[in-house]
Amino acid sequence: MKRSKLDRKEHIAAFLFILIPLIGFALFTVGSMFFSFMYSFTKLNPIKHYDPFFSIIGDIWVGFDKYKDLFTHELHSERFFRAIGNTLVLLLSVPLGMLAGLLVAALLNNRKIVGSKIMRMLFYLPAVSSAVAMNLLWRFVFNHEYGLINMLLHNTGLKWLDDYALIKTAIIFKNVWGGLGGTMIMYLAGMLNISRDYYEAADIDGANGLQKFFRITFPMLTPITFYLLIVGVIGGLQSYVDSDVFAQGNVGAQTIVYFIWKRGIGEWNYGLASAASVLLSVVIMAVTIVQFRFSNRWVFEE
């Protein structure tokens, strides 16, 4: 009796402790999501429909029209598909950044390397730099007339900022550069936590450095790889600053969120913007769930 009373007290305390984040979640996530969802079934135009949403919802209800517009409307569908395509191509920077980060981490994970601390700092520097400053800088670096890249390539005349394929290459390069510090740190932390016993056992078996890396280090790091992949993909699907600040709206770099923002919200077509947002949310959740489902096939667990 007394025991259960104590338990109940603990339950209540525990619940109160998580109450604030729960309220925040309800207000800022569930509430907003709910409205986005409702907007997507309307032709809400903020200039015209400025009365409280639920008092006019009947007048502006259009059912699934906005979803249909995304896929079939002559003025929108092509752009929507293009935005999806661009976003997917730009996602390439996630695995590439992870690969580069892993490589650097593997090289730096050696106490004998002189200056490893300074190098770590340098590799991580982009992670503490503002995206805006970096995008301005890189736009300048890729400028084909007076940019650094073409100077190094001896004026090949590649028009990075104009060509639809080259601008994607430029963005991927820039994002790998910017992202590898973060992945490096995670991998380094993971490597420090791998027990030395494994390596000593491998030494006895006469394994060389590469073998140790592929047989021990890499498998032991799969949970981090998995985490980085999920976070990277979720972030990548939401990319916006690259299209806006770096590519300045170049057709070859317009992403889904750019589509939502410029086409939906800029054009006062909140229904269309919300329909695209809802679909994006669904896709992100689906991708995350699928990643989790397949994780047990390749993620190592102790």
Binding site: F15, I23, Y50, F53, E145, K159
Partner: protein, 475 residues
């Protein structure tokens, strides 16, 4: 039992939160501390403006002068620096639109059509309006019964001009001279009253900017960094659509000829950078950097030009096409001062808007700092052009009359220069314009992959669809 209790609590909580959000979800709720009359008996007017920090400082001065002259009114200003977040703020302001606010004339139709703006025709004397260029304010008339823009019977007046553009050609005199000297061109500077034709312009640039001058003057030399699309189309007796923006006209020969003229500046004459090179440096950058002879500029560019340019420069009217009936036509337009239809202090708000649009001192300051040309006919045609107050002594451009000629329309047979509102002003929203430009880019007009006629013919039905959709948004 416990389980259900807790779960009910959570569900109830979530629902309350959602409903709390829903209750205030619409932006339409009235502001609790609505501006109006304060205990001291003074009327409070909310004002919102957008522009650079320099402009903000000027407006602070205008507003305090206004308050000195009207001691019963207090103006509460909010100044915004960024265009897109300002537009975002206005579109989501609901019933809380500021009493007086600056609004891009390209958004005018959407706001006026949604009954967001106050019809100020009964507040403003015709005499006051008569002091301004008709083209500067007549565009802010609208008849909501027949969706007709511009002054007509039964139309209301929904805004007063902040300024009026226009966007004309500017050239670097020193670079012009250096090139002319090298190639032995003796034609002198282009005329400020007699616009060049498309061909004359192209050939002049080809004379001044070619292999010879690129070798001797500078290797990155161009005639012009980019040519403004609307100026070319309007000046070739063409338009994107008919008067009411109902039917597409982009397949007409005059229209496609105008586009082809721009493309050929690069493709045929090699005096304008290719589209790709425009992405790395725009026309403005090339002009201010001294590598392009010509550029487009408006009165607002004077501030920066005076500060940054180390060379002499002047302006000329935009080029005129070869089509029949073509007149040199630059785009005019800018922002309006509008009054919110929900304003509780309408009379005071209109007073402020009128003051800002027509007050002599504020108009004078605008031209003195190189921000705008005066709205007032009297001031513009004498004081400004002839600099009778000596406020512009020694300052470029010498041919200030080009600005005025452009906004005052065609006066007589000798007047060959006029202006026309930006195309986006005539339509409900502006996205069609960006889409069209994007289509021209992707289809390779500027690279010569296709001709302007081919591209416009292919795009016509999509273009018409965009117009139809915007029409359907009205009302």
């Amino acid at each position: 039992m416990k389980k259900t209790n807790l779960l009910t609590l959570v569900v109830a909580l979530l629902l309350t939160a959602v409903f709390a959000l829903a209750a205030c979800g619409g932006p339409g709720d009235d502001n609790p501390d609505e501006p109006g009359v304060n205990p001291g008996g003074k009327t409070i007017v909310q004002f919102a403006g957008r522009g650079s920090a320099d402009e903000e400082a000027n407006y602070t001065r205008f507003l305090s002068q206004f308050m000195e002259e009207n001691p019963d009114i207090i103006v509460n200003p909010n100044w915004y620096a960024d265009e897109s977040s300002y537009a975002q703020g206005l579109q989501n302001a609901g019933r809380n639109l500021p009493d007086v606010f600056m609004m891009d004339d390209r958004d005018f139709l959407a706001y006026v059509d949604a009954n967001r703006l106050l019809d100020i025709s009964s507040y403003v004397e015709q005499e006051t309006l008569n002091t301004m260029f008709p083209s500067s304010y007549e565009k802010y008339y609208y008849n909501s019964d027949n969706f007709k823009l511009g002054k007509s019977e039964d139309a209301g007046l929904y805004g007063l001009p902040k300024d009026q553009g226009p966007y004309v050609l500017v050239y670097n005199k020193e670079l012009f001279n250096r090139c002319a000297q090298v190639v032995g061109y003796t034609g002198g500077y282009p005329s400020a009253t007699d616009p060049m034709t498309f061909t004359e312009f192209s050939e002049l640039l080809a004379t001044l900017c070619n292999e010879t001058t690129r070798k001797t003057v500078r290797s990155d030399l161009y005639g012009i960094g980019a040519y403004e699309m609307q100026a070319a189309i309007y000046s070739n007796n063409a338009n994107y659509f008919d008067d009411t923006a109902t039917n597409s006209r982009i397949t007409e020969k005059n229209f496609t000829d105008a586009l082809q003229f721009i493309a050929d500046l690069n493709l045929k004459y090699n005096v304008m950078p290719a589209a790709a090179d425009q992405a790395s440096s725009n026309g403005y950058q090339r002009f201010t950097g001294g590598s392009a002879i010509f550029c487009f500029a408006g009165p607002w560019d004077c501030t920066a030009f005076w500060r940054d340019l180390t060379f002499e420069w002047d302006i000329i009217p935009v080029c005129v096409g070869e089509a029949e009936g073509a007149v040199s036509t630059a785009w005019v337009g800018s922002m309006a001062y509008s009054v919110s239809a929900n304003s509780k202090v309408k009379a005071a708000a209109v007073k402020l808007a009128t003051y800002l649009a027509t007050n002599e001192d504020s108009q004078r300051t605008q031209y003195q700092i190189g921000q705008a040309i005066p709205n007032l006919i009297e001031m513009a045609t004498n004081e400004y052009i002839n600099d009778t107050k000596g406020l512009l002594s020694g300052k470029n451009p010498a041919s200030r009359s080009v600005f005025i000629d452009t906004v005052d329309g065609i006066r007589d047979a000798s007047d060959k220069v006029t202006g026309k509102q930006r195309a986006q002003y005539y339509t409900y929203s502006s996205v069609w314009y960006a889409d069209f430009e994007e289509y021209l880019n992707t289809q390779g007009l500027w690279s010569g992959a296709k001709t302007a006629a081919e591209i416009c013919n292919a795009y016509n039905s999509t273009f018409q669809l965009a117009l139809d959709e915007m029409k359907a948004s009205l009302g």
